[in-house]
């Protein structure tokens, strides 16, 4: 019944910090609420993405599940946005790239201090880890990037307003931060 702008959001290998920052829009969010609605998102309990206008991806890609979710978003969202440092370059989770995955797993499940029942989980329900944490643009086409760790509420606002108004989003100097 609506022609509200449909937005889906998700956090892959991220910390939900970007989502928190999104909520930091506070009262400005209330203004937006009249024109946007959320599809799949931690803010709703919708489990799968349906066709949307905008998809916001927080976090990089660290396991097979992330790949499936990312693809679901790419398939359903007209515009896909990488939100935050982790989605853009892997961010903090990518620090594990300095350690071989094999050693990570052994340390976590076999050799680490306090591990009882040392065994690498093999439940087919569990997603497998990729050899590296990767930024999302290496897996799917990404339309826009919102830098920041997290991007400030102002950045969200600038992007969303531009997109809602049908403009190409851009950021003034003071809103570009990588930290």
């Amino acid at each position: 019944m609506t022609n509200k702008i449909k937005i889906a959001t998700t956090s892959l290998a991220g910390c939900f910090g970007c989502h928190m920052s999104f909520l930091d829009m506070d009262e400005r969010l209330v203004d937006l609420a009249d024109i946007i609605e959320f599809d799949r998102s931690p803010f709703t309990d919708i489990e799968h993405c349906s066709p949307c206008d905008i998809g916001l991806i927080e976090g990089g890609v660290c396991n097979s599940e992330n790949i499936h979710v990312l693809r679901e978003f790419r398939k359903n969202c007209k515009t896909l946005i990488a939100v935050g440092a982790c989605a853009i370059n892997g961010g903090l989770p990518a620090l594990r790239n300095f350690v071989k995955l094999e050693d990570c797993l052994l340390e976590a499940y076999r050799d680490g201090i306090g591990v009882d029942n040392p065994q690498i989980p093999n439940d087919p329900e569990l997603p497998l880890l990729l050899d590296k944490v990767r930024p999302i643009h290496e897996i799917v086409k990404v339309d826009y990037f919102m830098p920041g760790c997290p991007p400030s509420a102002d950045v969200f606002l600038a992007f969303l307003t531009a997109l809602i108004e049908g403009r190409d989003p851009s950021l003034p100097y003071k809103l570009i931060h990588y930290d």
Partner: protein, 594 residues
């Protein structure tokens, strides 16, 4: 042991830091690597930072910080060697010697690796063992080699024919057929006068044969007008462009005429010292060339008071490269000659004004000196009468690839590609690479183009591909070559050539979509337009020119509608799958979503 060895090496090099590369070559040959103690001792003895030595070792492919095999085998990875089956050669070597490509066998006896073009594309598949050439490798020959290695027979006792490099000249022309007696050009020069001989060089309109085509007489004149002394003459025999081997032939068969050209140049610019920068791959010529130099000294053609001319002293030293294509670039070569990594200098100043040891220096190609010798004898008009007005004289071509008669050909400039192909017995031609990877790929629709600076210029490489060849094998081989040979000094080439490689592989491996081709083209221009030297400027040529010739093939190679990852997605789960001992469907990923 090491100490006495280093003492000897240092003494032979007269403790001169600029001979560092040569010293390290000797240490490498003796110890199969550069041991840390050698780095320390050399740094101290030469009074240079140890970091300079490490930087040099890491820069040159033939020097190593970790031991290679006592028999170190390198197989040429030029596209023509690839076409002649270097892969099978490597597998055969690998299985008979029980050593993997890129590794040293456990007992340290043998190591096996790729190398960039070894300068024997007319007699591939070729390789090097401890720096010496192994042309025309095939299984029977390999069996002999393997036996000799396993018996640990010293290289000096191997049958010489294993190393025999043939010099196949199919079409000698103006220069290669001229009669010549040692001293002819020097006599002519002195008789005519130095200024007059330079004027003849000017009249000849000779342009450099090393690629850039700079007017030789102008370079010599500028150098002679510099106030600073001493001045140097450098003969560039780095010949690293894949597919070229004419300088090898010239130094093998016409060395006197090349050295005489250098000596004429020295007389004109007022130089007392010449250097021949000989690529590491041509080690087999080293002793022979030393002998030629010695004879010339004995004939009064080198040394002091040359040909009795009081005060005209000139001698030539040979210094060897150690596996770095970039050292063919004149200023990188000068750096290398000074005992440093071969990183191209910033211009201005040009090396003519500020070259070797920051002194005025002429760097010319081997063939340029050969031509100069004959111009000094016969005069400029004789040369200018041949070729085209902008490209006078003749050009030596090294022809390889799909043709009946690979080898050396000498043509007047202006000859059509079609005629060359007929002469060398090429049929069913799909394309020709003129000028090596840094040159131009042309399709069979462009065979009426001509060899000349104003159309297709070549420093000597001419590779023929017939219709059974895959354009992507060619583009990939060349693109990988540049990524491997980039000196890494400047960002656009250091990072850009590796990105070009990745992006091209992505498309060739079938992971590309339309956006990837656009990305590739854009990247080509960034690398070409922003790089520091000719290597980066030409590194995108293989992609740009094959794309221009066969755009439809590239378009057909774009296998995806949508963006797909540039790497094997499923393979990124290999480790996790293995460790969780899983192989169920959800333990796999499709490259693209279906």
């Amino acid at each position: 042991m090491l100490t006495t060895f280093l003492q000897k090496v240092l003494t032979e090099a007269d403790y001169q830091p600029f001979r560092l590369l040569g010293m390290l070559r000797k240490v490498q040959a003796q110890y199969q690597h550069i041991p840390p103690e050698a780095i320390d001792s050399l740094a101290e003895a030469l009074n240079i930072p140890r970091t300079q030595i490490i930087a040099v070792v890491e820069f040159y492919s033939f020097l190593h910080l970790t031991p290679q095999g006592r028999y170190d085998i390198l197989i040429s990875n030029s596209i023509t060697d690839q076409m002649l089956g270097n892969d099978q050669i490597i597998s055969y070597l690998s299985s008979t010697l029980n050593v993997k490509l890129g590794e040293v066998r456990d007992d340290g006896l043998v190591s096996l690796n790729h190398t960039s073009c070894s300068g024997m594309c007319d007699q591939g598949p070729a390789g090097l063992i401890n720096g010496y050439p192994l042309p025309r490798l095939d299984p029977p020959k390999i069996d002999r080699i393997v036996a000799l290695i396993e018996q640990q027979t010293p290289l000096t006792e191997w049958p010489p024919e294993l190393f025999h490099v043939e010099e196949i000249i199919h079409k000698p022309g103006l220069l290669l057929t001229q009669a010549f007696n040692n001293g002819d050009a020097l006599h002519a020069t002195f008789t005519r006068g130095l200024a007059e001989t330079l004027a003849e060089a000017d009249l000849s309109n000779l342009r450099g044969r090393g690629g850039a085509g700079f007017k030789t007489a102008l370079k010599w004149r500028t150098c002679s007008q510099q106030a600073a002394t001493p001045r140097y003459v450098i003969c560039n025999a780095d010949e690293g462009e894949p597919g070229t081997f004419k300088d090898r032939m010239l130094l093998d068969l016409y060395a006197d005429q090349v050295f005489e050209g250098m000596t004429v140049c020295a007389a004109i610019i007022g130089s007392n010292q010449g250097l021949l920068y000989l690529r590491g791959e041509y080690l087999f010529l080293y002793e022979k060339l030393l002998d030629v130099l010695q004879q010339r000294r004995e004939q009064g053609l080198l040394g002091t008071n040359i040909l009795g001319r009081a005060g005209f002293d000139f001698d030539i030293e040979i210094r060897m490269g150690a596996g770095a294509y970039i050292c063919g670039e004149a200023s990188a070569q000068i750096e290398s000659l000074e005992g440093k990594p071969g990183i191209p200098r910033t211009k201005p100043p040009n090396s003519v004004m500020c070259g070797y040891q920051r002194k005025p220096t002429v760097v010319d190609n081997v063939e340029t000196f050969l031509a100069s010798t004959h111009i000094a004898i016969h005069g400029g008009q004789w040369f200018a009468d041949i070729g085209t007005p902008q490209s006078t004289g003749t050009k030596l071509l090294s022809i390889s690839g799909d043709c009946a008669r690979p080898g050396i050909y000498e043509y007047p400039f202006g000859v059509s590609i079609r005629e060359i192909l007929q002469d060398c017995g090429a049929s069913d031609v799909m394309g020709v690479q003129v000028g090596g990877p840094s040159g131009t790929f042309i399709s069979n629709r462009e065979l009426d183009r001509v060899l000349a600076f104003e159309d297709l210029s070549s420093a000597g490489s001419f590779m023929v591909f017939n219709s059974t060849r895959n354009i992507f094998d060619i583009a990939r081989n060349f693109t990988d070559f540049f990524a491997h040979e980039s000196c890494g000094f400047c960002t656009p080439c250091r990072v850009g050539t590796s990105l070009l490689k990745q992006q091209l592989h992505k498309i060739i491996d079938g992971h590309g979509s339309a956006a990837d081709l656009e990305e590739l083209s854009e990247l080509c221009l960034v690398v070409r337009n922003n790089s520091h030297c000719g290597l980066g400027e030409s590194a995108a040529n293989p992609i740009l020119t094959t794309l221009a010739s066969y755009p439809d093939l590239y378009l057909k190679q774009l296998k995806h509608q949508e963006f797909s990852p540039g790497f094997d997605l499923d393979a990124t789960l290999n480790v996790a799958r293995r460790m969780a001992q899983r192989d169920d469907p959800s333990a796999h990923l499709m490259q693209v979503e279906n």
